[in-house]
């Protein structure tokens, strides 16, 4: 029995080829994502171990994120340096977000990371950074640049270089006293910039006082192990500090980074999951058609005494072999994809990492086989049961399978659709905690429901489409073929539907956002120019611009009002992470026309705040209530003095300007400017840009350019989603090819007949083409309809939350999708139609 089934498998290898490709693609996508994540992780781990190469022990503050983190004094450092077994000691004075400006264009250098450090005349005693030319900075106005920084900023020894220091909130000019490189001849560790200041100056800049260090690293004398030195140093540690071996520090740093890659891998894996889900439809169709074509053979096995269990096992065994084979190839493919993507990504981000081998973890292997096998087994299960139900008598006679009623199927479809839609609604109203899971589960149920209902829809929709597209006799035959097995047509189309639905949902939400933004811009709020902080990192007060710069803006002709907006995401309200602003409320009220709902919108003192009505309602707060607000490591009771009406542009808790003292830095993240009627907007924008040019990454624009920018961001997002769904769409395309090819095998004799009665080769091509286009356009229409529906549900939820104000249909996108489906259908038909047209008429008729 097993032998018979495996032999059958080999004979049908061509028919299973596309099923295998579907598995290879979805498993490849998944394992590729995992390999990519693991490899990037390993690269960064390699980077950290390079950084810590000569570090035996590192001493750092236990709580570096505290409002007033513990610092090592010079005396502490000296004492630790004298510990027996310490060969070198290096106090660390460093900062991030220190950004040099290019000497040629005057623009800020755009690197992923802008590092700064303080060095004395000894340089880096631990030997990571080496001076290549010139001298270490000896005065407060001198800096040494890493070779990469010098290259990016077009600076040389002796050049005057403008450098932005976030702690100062402004840029200063320095003289480049030397150029340094990294051990091993590298110009940078990972494409970052590094500006090294004179030690005392750096301490004053970063920590506000001289003679302190954030942390320290120690090299061990020969014969002293890292662990031994750690023990010795621990005995001398000042309070608030901890010691780690170099190895531990490396692990901690790369694990922290690994978490951020983890999210990246999860997002990619979700899209891989969609691809695998689509693959189920293709594989299901393949096994279903193969079982139908083999019903005689299966009946013969049954007539010879095979039990139905044996038949099921035989089909599932085939699935297991196909799945295992596909997963193996997919894993290989994924490794190749992961390697390629890593190279591409490193290149794109300008991250110049030390090279190293590809990393294939256990997880990549495990997930490949789990997904490959499970997907195939799920897909083959119903066909296997169907195979077992072929009666032995079918071996003896020509089986006539009457069209089964679609009633049962449609009821089952409804049984999936209704709870699925319910779950989506539930998730969108935000009841329950596992919202994302509920939503995903709901969407999957909706997909299954619509897929099960689609055979019912296939007849009327395909007939209508056929009337539009199926011109000529060849076309009419194609329409008939698409209609003859609505289940097959529907399952094939449903695979395409899934991808199209997700894309349409994204496009609908994006379009609604875009038109909501246009609405806001259209409303005259009083704000004419917006100043936006850099998107290089999350706002916390350390990036943005000095609010004092707005004083200069206010002096510009035509400017009536300015408001600085401080934002931090390192905050929590009543224990829940939140996005907090600090601003002068009366100015904001004037400029944004804030409406008072409760309390008073007045200038806020320390520990006073206003919140929006939505938030107040959800948390049952009213004016006068006290709420705990955490900013960074601080936690204070704030009194709600006012409640304002939430709008899509203005929402969330707003604190008074005194609260900015608790932010990580004093930089404003956004700024708003009001102008006189008839003021020169473009001219003022240019002038504000000029004022803001000292602040790296800060952009200035009028409201319409702001709207345009936002629209573009949404377009990019939709495009990215479309690209990530590319694999799912490709599998759907393969599904159409697969169905057509298998149908052609099934209809060989009919093809021979239509040729014998005079249909030309071109006619056969048209016939197959029309069937293909009908399937793909049907799938696309299902997807577009479902996607608009889901999109509308999302938009409704977002409107309820005041994130947007109106629903809008992305007409242009929808037209493109339907047009693309037409092309898709034609492309899918190319190969099957060629095969059909090349059939030998005589052999086709004689075909048994």
């Amino acid at each position: 029995m097993i032998k018979a089934s495996l032999r059958g498998l080999l004979q049908r290898k061509l028919r299973l080829a596309l099923a295998v490709i579907a598995i290879v693609l979805s498993v490849g996508f998944l394992s590729g994502s995992i390999v990519l994540g693991d490899t990037l992780n390993a690269r960064f781990a390699g980077l950290f171990s390079t950084i810590n190469e000569n570090v035996a022990v590192q001493v750092t503050a236990k709580d570096p994120d505290a409002a007033e983190p513990a610092r090592l004094s010079q005396a502490d450092l000296d004492r630790l340096s004298r510990v027996d077994g310490v060969a070198q000691a290096s106090g660390d004075v460093s900062a991030e977000g220190v950004i040099p400006f290019r000497t040629d264009t005057g623009k800020a250098v755009t690197a992923q990371v802008g590092l700064a450090a303080g060095v004395d005349s000894r340089g880096d005693t631990l030997g990571l950074v080496e001076l290549r030319e010139g001298a270490w900075p000896a005065r407060a106005d001198e800096v040494v640049l890493s070779a990469n920084t010098a290259k990016l900023a077009k600076a040389q020894r002796g050049t005057q270089l403008k450098v932005f220091v976030p702690q100062l909130g402004e840029a200063r000019t320095y003289t480049v006293s030397g150029i340094a490189g990294f051990a091993g001849g590298r110009d940078s560790l990972a494409g970052e910039t590094l500006v090294m200041f004179e030690l005392k100056h750096a301490q004053e800049l970063f920590y506000g006082t001289t003679g302190v260090y954030a942390s320290a690293s120690f090299g061990a004398a020969s014969g002293v192990s890292q662990d031994e030195l750690k023990k010795r140093i621990e005995r001398e540690l000042p309070s608030g500090f901890k010691a780690q071996t170099g190895k531990e520090a490396t692990e901690e740093a790369s694990n922290a980074l690994g978490d951020s890659f983890g999210i990246f891998t999860i997002i990619l894996s979700a899209f891989a999951g969609v691809a695998a889900f689509v693959g189920i439809f293709l594989i299901y169709n393949t096994f279903n058609i193969i079982v139908a074509q083999r019903s005689r053979e299966l009946a013969l096995l049954r007539a010879m005494g095979a039990s139905w269990g044996q038949v099921i096992r035989a089909v599932l065994l085939e699935a297991l072999v196909v799945g295992g084979f596909g997963a193996t190839l997919g894993l290989g493919f994924g490794i190749a994809v992961g390697v390629g993507a890593e190279a591409l990504l490193s290149n794109m981000l300008g991250v110049d990492l030390p090279s190293g081998g590809v990393v294939v973890s256990m997880w990549a292997v495990l997930w490949s086989y789990v997904v490959g096998l499970i997907v195939t087994m799920i897909a083959a299960f119903i066909p296997a049961v169907k195979a077992s139900m072929v009666p032995p008598i079918a071996a003896m006679r020509e089986t006539v399978r009457p069209d089964k009623s679609l009633l049962g199927l449609s009821i089952t479809g409804g049984a999936f659709l209704v709870p699925g839609a319910g779950l989506v609604a539930l998730a969108l109203t935000g009841i329950g905690s596992a919202t994302t899971l509920v939503l995903a589960g709901g969407v999957v149920l909706v997909f299954l429901g619509v897929a099960l209902l689609s055979p019912l829809l296939a007849k009327p929709v395909v007939r209508l489409l056929g009337w539009l597209l199926g011109r000529g006799q060849a076309g009419k035959l194609g329409v008939r073929n698409a209609l003859r097995n609505p289940r097959r047509t529907a399952v094939t189309a449903a695979a395409l539907m899934i991808g199209v639905t997700l894309i349409t949902t994204a496009a609908t939400v994006a379009q609604s956002f875009k038109s909501s933004i246009e609405d806001i811009v259209g409303q005259n709020t009083g704000v004419d120019i917006m100043i936006l902080g850099p998107n290089t990192g999350p706002p916390n007060g350390e990036i943005g611009f000095n609010p004092a710069a707005l004083d200069e803006v206010k002096k510009l002709p035509g400017v009536t009002d300015t408001a600085a907006w401080h934002i931090t995401i390192e905050a929590a309200i009543a224990g829940t992470p939140a996005f907090i602003s600090a601003a002068d409320v009366p100015t904001a009220k004037r400029m944004w026309q804030m409406q008072e709902v409760g309390g008073q919108l007045r200038t806020l003192g320390a520990q006073e705040m206003v919140v929006d009505d939505n938030m107040a309602e959800a948390s049952r707060w009213k004016a006068g209530d006290q709420v705990t607000v955490g900013i960074g490591q601080t936690s204070k009771k704030y009194t709600i003095v006012g409640i304002y009406k939430r709008t899509p542009t203005l929402q969330g808790p707003i604190l008074g300007l005194p609260a900015v003292d608790d932010f990580a830095g004093k930089l404003a993240y956004q700024g708003f400017v009001s102008l006189d009627d008839g003021a020169d907007v473009a001219g003022t924008v240019a002038k504000v840009e000029d004022i803001m040019s000292d602040y790296p990454g800060v952009t200035v624009g009028d409201m319409s350019s702001f709207a345009r920018q936002q629209s573009q961001a949404f377009d990019v997002l939709v495009n990215a989603i479309t690209i990530l769904l590319g694999v799912a769409l490709l599998i759907a395309l393969l599904g159409i090819i697969n169905t057509l090819l298998l149908s052609i095998v099934e209809r060989t004799r009919e093809l021979g007949l239509v040729r014998a009665v005079g249909l030309s080769r071109g006619g056969v091509v048209r016939m197959v083409g029309v069937e293909s286009v009908l399937i793909s356009v049907f799938g696309c229409l299902l997807g577009v309809t479902l996607g608009v529906g889901l999109g509308a549900a999302f938009v409704k939820a977002l409107i309820d939350l005041d994130f947007m104000s109106k629903f809008a249909l992305p007409w242009a996108n929808l037209a493109v999708y339907v047009g693309a489906a037409l092309v898709f259908g034609v492309v899918a038909a190319l190969w099957p139609a060629r095969r059909a047209a090349k059939l030998n008429v005589l052999e086709a008729i004689a075909y048994e």
Partner: protein
């Protein structure tokens, strides 16, 4: 073998083969299906091709109908030289000059009986001659079954649809390949009667391959093949004379 090239002339032949060879495979595995066969099938007559299995009778018909290419020699349908026609030429030939009836009926399951009958005309983009269509329907007796799908028809009814399909475009010649092979004798005789009537009443030319002496007895003429050669022919056959001839050929 004659060396004079066959001149294309209007003859009484609806189809003819001139010095036709058909060889399958090469070397050791070579099989000669037709050896220097020349035959003329007269217009307006019903010709049966008979012979034991492997005698080449089906091959001859396939070659005459342009379904299979000959190795050497020439085939004509009417005044069209079939040999060497491109696929487009063959398609045109099938649309205009040739009709088929198969043992397996070969109807399209997605089309009704009427749509199946009109399929060749629809493919060729020709308007059906309604009066002729009615005549054909009446001849094969399908009046009340036109809206049915093939799966709703009996074997005999399906073959009648296939006959009507072949007749409706009034081809130069209809090739029938064992048309009664899948039918019981009653249904078979009905089909043969229609074929016979369409020859007598409408002057349709029919070429039928069969191994059934009874079926052959409906023809005007029977051509016997053995080992790829025409061994004899018989005019106005009866079932008995055909059987005698078969025995002689086999002996």
């Amino acid at each position: 073998m004659t060396l004079t090239a066959p001149v294309i002339t209007r003859t009484a032949a609806a189809a003819r083969a001139a010095d036709v060879w058909k060889v399958y495979g090469s070397g050791e595995a070579q099989v000669v299906a037709l050896r220097d066969v020349s035959v003329e099938l007269e217009r307006g007559r019903f010709t049966a091709i008979m012979g034991p299995s492997g005698s080449g009778k089906s091959t001859l018909m396939h070659c005459l109908a342009g379904l299979d290419a000959v190795t050497r020699g020439d085939v004509f349908v009417g005044d069209t030289k079939v040999t060497g026609l491109s696929d487009a030429g063959l398609t045109k030939l099938r649309r205009e000059k040739v009709g088929f009836i198969f043992q397996q009926f070969n109807l399209l399951p997605t089309l009704t009986a009427e749509e199946n009958i009109l399929l060749p005309l629809a493919i060729a983009g020709r308007k059906p001659d309604r009066a002729w269509f009615q005549t054909v329907i009446d001849t094969v007796g399908l009046g009340d079954r036109l809206g049915h799908r093939p799966s709703q028809l009996s074997g005999g009814q399906q073959q009648r649809v296939a006959c009507a399909r072949a007749l409706v475009s009034r081809p130069e010649v209809i090739f029938a390949d064992e048309p009664t092979g899948n039918l019981d004798s009653r249904a078979g005789n009905e089909i043969l009667t229609f074929l016979r009537r369409s020859v007598i009443e409408y002057g349709q030319t029919i070429v039928m391959v069969t191994h059934d002496a009874n079926a052959a007895s409906y023809a005007d003429r029977v051509v016997f093949l053995a080992d790829g050669r025409i061994v004899s022919s018989l005019d106005d056959p009866t079932a008995d004379t055909v059987l005698d001839m078969l025995k002689a050929a086999a002996g």
